[in-house]
Symmetry: C2
Subunit: 207 residues, 2 copies
C-alpha cells in the first residue's frame, strides 16, 4: 500500500443535517468539500455499530460453528449467518457480543477473542461490525426479542465453505468472518483468547 | 443446514411506501406480517445493485491484485478496496464490471469469471454485489467520474491478507472477495473463465 498522506483523497465536512428519521433508519446529508475544492453532498445512514460472533464448538468430529438462519426482509431471502446484533446505546461491543450470543442462540462462552472490524457499507452507512470469536460454549435457554424469528444450527467449516462457494451464503459479514475463520483454523492467524471475566474487566467503555 | 420450509421465518409484505427520496438514497417502509401473524414495519434502502472486481495480474513474482484507496465519507477513513461500482439503470453486472474496471483503474481484461454474490447489509438495504474475477489485463487510460478521487496500486495476496489481519482492510466486500481469492489461489475453488466476447454474448440482460 503506498505510504503517503491522503490530502488528495479526503473530503471535508462543511455542514450536516438530519434529513430522515424513521422508526429504524436515520439518514443525514452532509455538504462536503472534495479534494479539488469543489462542493458536493453525501447521504448516509447513521448506525450505532454492531457485533458478529464466530462461536466455536470443539467436538470429537472437529470444530463446529453455531449458525443462524433468519429471513431478511430487504433481500427477500432466508439468510445463513453468524450470530450478530446491534449495539444498545452506550453498550460495549464485548457486552453486546455476549448478550446477542446468549439471546439469539442460548449459548454462553468461557473465552472470547476480538478478531477485527468490518465496515459493511462504506458508501452509505456509518456502520461498523466488531468481530468476536467465542469458545468454551455451554447451552442454556435463548431469549429472542419479541418479533424475532430465527433458527439455530451447527455446521462444520467445510460445510460452510461449500455454501459460500455455491452462493448459498451471501451475507457480507458472514463471508468476511469465513476469511478470518479459515486463517485461524489453518493456524495462519493467532487469536488473543481471554476469559469472559477478563474481557469484562478490560474492554473499554465507549466514549 | 436444516432442510425445511421457511414458513416459520418468512415475513410477508402488507403494503409499501417510499418514505425518503434524497439525492442519492431512497428509503422505503413496508408494513409486514411476521410468521406469528403479528404486524411490524421494515425500513430499508432501495439499491440498484453493484459489482466488485478481483483483477489478477500474473507476474514473474507471482499474482498481483489491482486495488484502490478511496476516502469513504460515512466512515471517515481512506479505505483499501477492490474496484467496484453501482449498476446503471438496465445495466448487466458484466457490463458494469467491465466499465468500472476501465473507468476507475484504466485496465481492460481479456477474460472474466463470475464468482458469486454478496449481500452487504441484509437488515436495511436491498443491495447485492456481483463478484467478478478478471485476468489478462492491459493498462489504458482511466476515466474517473467528475468528483471521483481514488488511488490505484498493485498488491500481493499475502500483503492484502496481512492488511486484513491488522485491521487495515475492513471493507466487507473486499474481505468477502479475499475469502474467494484465497480459495481460488489455493485451487480449492475453480472459476469458470470465459473471454470478454463470450461474456458479452452470454450474460443475461436484467429483466
Amino acid at each position: 500500500m503506498p505510504e503517503r498522506t491522503d490530502d488528495h483523497l479526503e473530503e471535508k465536512r462543511v455542514s450536516t443535517e438530519e434529513v430522515f428519521k424513521g422508526n429504524f433508519l436515520t439518514v443525514r446529508r452532509d455538504a462536503v468539500k472534495l479534494p479539488d475544492g469543489s462542493a458536493t453532498s453525501r447521504e448516509f445512514i447513521v448506525h450505532p455499530g454492531a457485533v458478529v460472533i464466530v462461536p466455536l464448538i470443539y467436538t470429537p468430529d472437529g470444530v463446529k460453528l453455531v449458525m443462524e438462519r433468519q429471513y431478511r426482509y430487504p433481500v427477500g431471502l432466508t439468510i445463513v449467518e453468524f450470530p450478530a446484533g446491534k449495539l444498545d446505546p452506550g453498550e460495549r461491543p464485548f457486552d453486546c457480543a455476549r448478550r446477542e450470543l446468549k439471546e439469539e442462540t442460548g449459548y454462553s462462552a468461557l473465552e472470547w477473542a476480538r478478531a477485527g472490524l468490518i465496515h459493511p457499507v462504506i458508501s452509505y452507512s456509518t456502520e461498523f461490525i466488531d468481530i468476536w470469536f467465542a469458545r468454551g460454549l455451554s447451552l442454556g435457554e435463548r431469549q429472542l426479542d419479541s418479533g424475532e424469528f430465527l433458527d439455530v444450527f451447527l455446521s462444520t467449516p467445510d460445510e460452510l465453505a461449500s455454501l459460500c462457494r455455491a452462493g448459498q451464503i451471501t451475507d457480507a459479514k458472514t463471508l468476511s468472518c469465513m476469511f478470518w475463520l479459515s486463517n485461524v483454523l489453518s493456524n495462519k492467524w493467532a487469536l488473543d483468547w481471554r476469559s469472559t471475566e477478563s474481557c469484562d474487566l478490560q474492554e473499554p467503555v465507549p466514549s
